[in-house]
Amino acid sequence: MLLHILNRSPATSLVYRQALTAIGPEDRLLLIEDGVQGAMPQLVRHFEGLEGRLFALREDLASRGLEGHCDPAVQVVDVDGFVLLTEEADRTVSWY
C-alpha cells in the first residue's frame, strides 16, 4: 500500500487525474496545501472511488478557513497523522 500526496486543487490543475491514474486499489491519497480544496463538498466528487482512503491535512484546511467546508467522506489528519500515514505505507509518491 502506497501513500500518494497531492498538493494541487482539482479546480484548476489536472494533476489530480495523473494521481488517480497511478493509485492502486489499496493505495491512499492525502490532500495537502492547495490540494485540500479537493475536500470541499463541491470538489470531492473528483475523488470518487477513494472512499475510506482519502485524507486531508488539518493545518492546511484550518489556515484556509476550510475546516468547516470539508466533506464527511474525507478523513482529516494533522501533521502527526501525516507522519503516521507515511509509516503505514510502503512508500510515498508526490503529485504536484
Binding site: N7, S9, A11, T12, E33, D34, Q37, M40, P41, Q42, L43, E59, D60, A62, S63, R64, G65, L66, E67, G68, H69, V79
Partner: protein
C-alpha cells in the same frame, strides 16, 4: 454594484487574482501590486477568478509555521479605496461558496460580462 455600473466602470488597473492563500505567494504579490497602485492614486479593480475565490473565505488563520496569509490584507482594501471587488460567479459555484461564506461583500460577475473587463482598464495584470 449592478452589472450596469460594472459596464460603465473605467479604471487604470485591473488586477486579476487566480490563486488561493497560503499555497503560493501569487495572491500576496498580486494584492501588493494592487495596494501600491492604489496608494499612488490609481483606480484599481480586483477580479477574483478560479481558486482566488477561496481567498475570501471567512475564518482563515495563520499557517502552521506562523505564515500570515492574506486575510488581513484583504480587510485593508477599503482603506486604500479599492472597493471594486469583482468575483467570477462561476468560480463561486464551482467551489460551492455562498455569500455568507465570504468575509467581504463582492460583486458577482457572470461569464457574459467578464470579457468586457480587460477592455475597460488601461492596464491588466494577471497573478
Amino acid at each position: 454594484m449592478s452589472e450596469e455600473s460594472t459596464r460603465e466602470n473605467v479604471a487604470d488597473l485591473l488586477v486579476i487574482l487566480r490563486h488561493g492563500p497560503h499555497g503560493s505567494s501569487w495572491l500576496r504579490e498580486g494584492l501588493d501590486a494592487a495596494l501600491v497602485a492604489a496608494a499612488f492614486g490609481r483606480q484599481v479593480s480586483l477580479l477574483f477568478m478560479g481558486e482566488a475565490v477561496t481567498a475570501l473565505v471567512r475564518g482563515q488563520q495563520a499557517g502552521a509555521l506562523g505564515q500570515k496569509g492574506t486575510a488581513a490584507t484583504l480587510e485593508m482594501l477599503a482603506m486604500y479605496d479599492i472597493d471594486t471587488l469583482l468575483v467570477e460567479a462561476e468560480a463561486l459555484a464551482r467551489f460551492g461558496l455562498a455569500e455568507q461564506d465570504l468575509m467581504l461583500p463582492v460583486n458577482r460577475l457572470d461569464a457574459e460580462s467578464l470579457p468586457r473587463l480587460p477592455a475597460e482598464h488601461r492596464l491588466v495584470l494577471t497573478f
